[in-house]
């Protein structure tokens, strides 16, 4: 079994690539820090993206939402004064309404995600990192914002003063998460935003400790290529928490719980620096610009 720690769009590419190149079962442990209550619905953007990627429903050109979706609901809702900055497609909405309805019956997010995965005919296992609500909060001069408000509503423009994870004092891993780490042949950390996709997972001490205990089997794919993040707001967010925007910076952030890091071949010069952190650096082409790229990187990752 291969276990994967994942965020949204970038992670979806590697996860999808892995489903094509490995024959073993995948367990995908999902970031829950971007979950948000909106319009009375409980929305899990990263979980949704992975569910859509694994079921073939994902709009791969946007990297989020359902392919061939329409926005009739949202266009109409905005006329009634409903906020429309979070782009909810009509087909996409169905997942949020189904999830919210199931959660209201008292099921946990893990149980609900399992049901939805089955309905979507997904054979791999998608596990929320936690059944508790742990929310990534971005501190800005305009006040503290939900990650989605910062990134989608305000287009990532405000200055970032810091990042916190709000939730229970002692957040617990969801059932099955620690076992999925402990029993995996290898654990892959996707090239996701370290601050808003991976850190909300490893913030849970039960998960961080489980990773650390099998550190030599944990391999991260760098989300940074040279001095720039592969996509998204990772650069700004890394700087805000005092981490250098480079594979070395990320390796240092992860060094407590990873044994290997896959970096781009153009960053070969950093192999030794990463090695000095006790992390073995491996180089390959880490850009996933098309399905071939996804499978090429997945092949490399699966055989580390």
């Amino acid at each position: 079994m291969l276990t994967v720690l994942a965020g949204g769009t970038g992670s979806a590419k590697l996860v999808r690539g892995l489903t094509h190149v490995v024959s073993e079962d995948l367990t995908v442990i999902m970031n829950v820090g971007d979950n948000i209550s909106l319009h009375g619905l409980y929305i899990c953007p990263d979980i949704d993206t992975i569910l859509y990627a694994l079921s073939g429903l994902l709009d791969t050109s946007r990297g989020w939402g359902v392919k061939d979706d329409t926005f009739h609901f949202l266009e109409q809702a905005s006329r009634y004064g409903v906020e429309d900055w979070f782009r909810l497609g009509d087909k996409d909405l169905a997942l949020h309404i189904a999830r919210t309805k199931l959660l209201k019956t008292g099921l946990t997010l893990t149980e609900v995600t399992k049901i939805l995965g089955e309905k979507m005919k997904i054979s791999h296992r998608v596990l929320p990192a936690s059944d508790q609500h742990i929310e990534t909060r971005i501190k800005t001069p305009k006040g503290e914002l939900h990650l989605q408000e910062f990134w989608v509503k305000l287009k990532g423009e405000p200055e970032v003063l810091g990042v916190t994870y709000q939730g229970p004092e002692h957040p617990q891993p969801a059932p099955g998460v620690v076992e999925a780490i402990r029993d995996a042949r290898n654990i892959v950390i996707c090239p996701a935003n370290p601050v808003t996709s991976i850190a909300p997972i490893t913030y849970i001490s039960g998960i961080r400790d489980a990773l650390a205990s099998v550190r030599e089997r944990v391999v991260a794919v760098s989300p940074v290529l040279g001095g720039r993040p592969v996509s998204g707001p990772a650069g700004k967010l890394l700087r805000s928490i005092g981490v250098e925007v480079s594979p070395i910076g990320v390796a240092e952030l992860y060094s407590g719980f990873i044994g290997k890091m896959i970096i781009d071949e153009s960053d070969e010069v950093m192999v030794d620096g990463i090695g000095r952190l006790g992390v073995e650096a491996l180089t390959t082409d880490i850009l996933m610009e098309d399905k071939k790229g996804e499978q090429r990187l997945a092949e490399f990752v699966a055989n580390v």
Copy 2:
């Protein structure tokens, strides 16, 4: 001012007709007995139909929902096991989500309906009969059903053993309803289902008493033409509560609070029988088969 008591589809025709032929303000007092919580949303089918009719959004060929709507949400949702018998269009959904969101802030249904009416640029006033949840329940051999379950889900097929209105012991009219009846030049009862559209309104004693106190100004349009209801399940439901399916039967049901009843000219033979109930019967063509028909009947109603 003209005040109208209304249900859904059939009422929408007369209400729309009235907006074309009268220059005075309309206050439409709405049935709330068909309101239903579905998918975590608070849906008011009759209120919605009237809001859509007054804003020009109504799909007039179906008589419910929004014109040019799509059903992408519902098609997708049914794959996740969400019940799809209640036909929620993508644009239609926006109204339910907006309403539910506003209700959750603590506003009353009257306040929320006013806000939505303003957003929809409706100049007339749409008032729920009550801010309390009063639910029309249909007793059948399969158990007691919500009206929508009986009529939409089960297509009105089960035998009807009786009808009850479930709600608070002493249901209260919403603010403004009694005044709208007391201060109106005339009060019009739409040709709506007497059992499931009008009775849930007059079941509220404050409303029934207000109507009775101005009885000579209350005019009902018969929902029955000869022995058959103009549309919908009225016949079956009238029989179930022991009321004859004829203009006379309905006149008798309403006789405590109406002074006049408009019946079809083909039912002229019933004028005397209705007169004996203390209700003056007026005859005209009551079928509204097109916009011309709506306005013709509205013209007649407005000048009674």
